[in-house]
């Protein structure tokens, strides 16, 4: 057992901490308050983060990135999320698909798509899975159900896939320059055997961005609608074999595995922020003639918040370490589920402590709680729990 971080890991952690303190925190609440959900993005922040490697951190060194390991990824995501969870996610969404490019794309595709990604500070990735008819089913496909799954249709026309249909709630849907899209290529079989992955650039003819969703939390991180009307995507943009998109092995660098860790590490950052806010209030706020920290009930809550946060940290770092060791266990899924309970309880306890300040709720604490509720449908809903439980009980 060794809990010590190496120099490179520490260096990235400190770099992310500094960026969160100096660049993210000062603008976090203001971006959250922008009413039009399409206007929340701050490209200056993305550019600044990109210049210090945050956008391209996960692209392997030999492919021109920084190749940071999973432990470092977890550290950086948590540090950034401590400043603003949604901003952290905007960067780490690029990592999710950097993993995918490294793992499943051909050399030719890597050359074609990685170079523009590496060269352009405003190039972010998106992925298109969810559709009106296909939400939970994407995560836990019903066996043998022909009606389930994506309906976005792709048909071959010479060297092109011709796409018709729509995607919903797509991460970075309004701002990404390249999408990892799942399309239905065979309707005669269950979608698990009839879905294909394509790389779709934002300027593909016949594709347009739809509305930007107006969320109650994670407002900086945009989700959008994608509309395809005879959109033509070259066959050379196809990832893997036709109809085999959902047959990916449990490879240790698959996007999904990263996704589980990603949500847990991000939640950890929110917890750190909540603890910091609560402790600071306890030390500085006077109520009824004495500092809040003198109240037993406040101490008990801060104790519990810290306990839950440190337990989550241990689990997050263990999973990151497992990933680096190429150990594939159910822990990634479990820590994702756990992070939902932890981040919501910790932020709500923080809010309890802020009840001691008269007037409206502190805007920052309110944001932490709103951001945390995003976990309910991303990481901790029944399907996400059943999926992980299914791996355990088989």
């Amino acid at each position: 057992m060794d809990f010590l971080l190496n120099e490179e890991q520490l260096e990235w952690q400190m770099k992310a901490r500094k960026f969160a303190e100096e660049e993210i925190k000062p603008i976090s609440l203001a971006r959250d308050k922008i009413a039009n959900p399409a206007d929340t993005i701050d490209w200056e922040l993305i550019k600044k983060g990109s210049k210090i490697g945050l956008r391209t951190a996960v692209v392997p060194k030999e492919q021109g990135g920084h190749g940071i390991d999973y432990v470092t990824q977890a550290l950086v995501m948590a540090e950034l999320a401590k400043g603003d969870s949604a901003m952290s996610k905007t960067f780490s969404q690029c990592w999710k698909w950097s993993h995918a490019i490294a793992a499943v794309c051909t050399d030719e595709q890597r050359k074609r798509f990685l170079k523009p990604f590496l060269d352009d500070d405003t190039f972010v990735f998106g992925s298109g899975q969810t559709e009106a008819n296909s939400g939970s089913d994407n995560r836990m496909p019903p066996v043998g159900d022909l009606k389930a799954g994506p309906r976005l249709r792709a048909e071959l026309d010479g060297d092109f896939w011709v796409l018709n249909g729509e995607k919903q709630f797509i991460a970075n849907g309004n701002i990404a320059k390249l999408f990892f899209l799942t399309v239905r290529t065979d309707f005669s079989v269950p979608f698990t055997d009839g879905t294909t992955s394509l790389l779709v650039p934002w300027d593909t003819p016949g594709f347009r961005r739809g509305k930007c969703y107006n969320k109650s939390g994670w407002r900086f991180y945009q989700n959008g609608e994608m509309i395809f009307e005879n959109a033509r995507v070259p066959v050379s943009n196809q990832i893997g074999e036709t109809n085999m998109a959902l047959h990916k092995g449990d490879g240790d660098s698959s996007g999904d595995m990263f996704g589980d860790l990603e949500l847990a590490a991000n939640a950890l950052g929110i917890c750190d922020s909540a603890c910091e806010k609560a402790i600071s209030l306890g030390q500085n706020h006077t109520s009824g003639g004495e500092l809040l920290k003198e109240q037993q009930l406040v101490r008990l809550k801060i104790g519990r918040m810290s306990m839950l946060t440190e337990a989550l940290r241990s689990y997050v770092m263990r999973v990151a370490w497992e990933h680096d060791q190429r150990i594939h266990s159910t822990n990634a899924g479990l820590v994702m589920n756990l992070s939902t309970d932890t981040v919501q309880e910790v932020t709500e306890l923080c809010m309890d402590i802020y009840d001691n300040v008269s007037g409206p709720m502190d805007a920052g604490v309110d944001k932490l709680v709103r951001d945390s509720f995003i976990w309910s449908h991303l990481a901790g809903d029944s399907v996400q729990r059943l999926k992980v439980a299914g791996r355990i009980i088989k």
């Binding site: 309890d352 007037g359 449908h377 029944s382």
Partner: protein, 394 residues
């Protein structure tokens, strides 16, 4: 005998309000145009429409032209209204509660005859209680097992001029119904200690600053009220030395039940039509059990709230052995706010990502049940009040 068998009148008024809500309020309240903005205006048209049902005068005795409703009936009406819109329910409940107390108990004959006709006549006539002082900070537990203070300090001053008129100066903060009130009940300090005065808005010298609804953390109408040489005649004094009579915790709990019920009803309806995992999601154990838990929460919350209301309606005729000596309203508040917040979150989870979208009502229900959970000085403070009763501390 303890009896929650609603009488014909109670059922009739419940059904009338329920129909009104379904036909008139809900369609407006859940429209995206109303849900999406951070700062939607108070739905005054809906409040006026609902007022036409006689709801402002709900708890004024029939002798004086009201409906003579008891606390239990007021809770039933508040819940039904809040299923449609909590803002509408709050404004009307606040006016009805204050009107019942003023015209039924506090005002003398001259005051009543002077004010009541106009109140009954004008459906836009609302009442506000201006009691909280701007400088006062809430506290937690500071009062636990320590000598009671005389309540919070009253900084607003009232002095009598040469003609005997009261001249009021000071600022009250976060006053419910401030923006719609035509009559203010004001607590002010005099050389002989605090008194209560009734100040019609038309007296002049009263400025109301609405508190921004975005981030203001309130339901209904709320504003700061600034009294600047507000001059009212001598006859506007109320002989009362405690503010306890104005307590209406029970009704706010009932509004909270209404909000959670709206979330529950939406979740049940949606779970029946949403097909994932091979069938309507309500057919899945996980969703079925979740909705069952929400149903249990609603029943449990309503039971304790109704018991508190029934007790307050029958207190004078109850023999000693029937009362626990514990503050039932407080118990109802704590137990219901905790389970109803969870009920709203669980209901929203059935909607997946749509549970966090601002153009959908679920995120609003969560936010509102959260505000109830963190209303007053927080549940720790409320618990310590019960602890004092348990400990037998005087």
């Amino acid at each position: 005998m303890y009896n929650l068998n609603l009488n014909e009148e109670q059922i009739a008024i419940r059904d009338t309000v329920c129909d009104f809500v379904k036909n008139e309020i809900t369609p407006v309240a859940v429209h995206p145009d109303r849900l999406e903005p951070f700062d939607p205006p108070l739905p005054t048209e809906l409040i006026d429409q609902a007022a036409e049902l006689g709801l402002r005068a709900l708890s004024i005795s029939e002798e004086f032209g009201g409906a003579g409703a008891d606390m239990l009936t007021c809770c039933i009406v508040a819940e039904e209204l809040a299923v449609g819109d909590a803002d509408v329910a709050s404004v009307l409940a606040e006016t009805a509660n204050l009107a019942g107390i003023l015209f039924g108990k506090l005002l003398n004959k001259e005051q009543r005859e002077r004010l009541l006709p106009e109140f009954l006549e004008d459906n836009k006539y609302h009442i506000a209680l201006a009691s909280s002082e701007a400088e006062f900070d809430g506290w937690i537990g500071n009062n636990y097992c320590r000598s009671k203070t005389d309540g919070s300090p009253v900084n607003t001053k009232a002095v009598q001029d040469v003609n005997g008129n009261w001249v009021i100066n000071g600022t009250k903060t976060r006053v419910s119904n401030a923006t719609v009130a035509k009559l203010f009940v004001v607590q002010a300090d005099t050389k002989d200690g605090p008194i209560l005065l009734i100040a019609p808005k038309e007296a002049g010298g009263i400025i109301v600053n609405e508190i921004n609804r975005d981030g203001g953390w309130y339901i209904g109408s709320c504003g700061d009220v600034i009294f600047t040489d507000c001059t009212i005649s001598e006859e506007n004094i109320i002989n009362l030395n405690t503010m306890d009579v104005f307590e209406n915790v029970g009704i706010s709990c009932a509004i909270n039940v209404g909000v959670a019920r709206a979330a529950f009803e939406a979740a049940v309806e949606y779970s029946k039509i949403r097909i994932q995992g091979g069938g309507p999601i309500i057919q899945h154990q996980a969703i079925g059990a979740k909705l069952a838990e929400v149903a249990i929460s609603l029943e449990v919350a309503r039971t304790i709230i109704w018991r508190a209301a029934w007790t307050s309606d029958n207190e004078s005729t109850m023999s000693e052995g029937n009362l626990t000596g514990l503050p039932l309203n407080n118990i109802a508040h704590i137990s219901s706010t905790e389970i109803l917040y969870k009920a709203a979150k669980d209901s929203a989870e059935c909607f997946g990502a749509m549970g966090v979208m601002r153009d959908m009502p679920l995120q609003k229900f969560i936010h509102q049940t959260r505000m109830f959970l963190h209303s007053r000085s927080g549940n720790d403070d409320s618990k310590l009040q019960i602890a004092e009763a348990v400990a037998g501390y005087e």
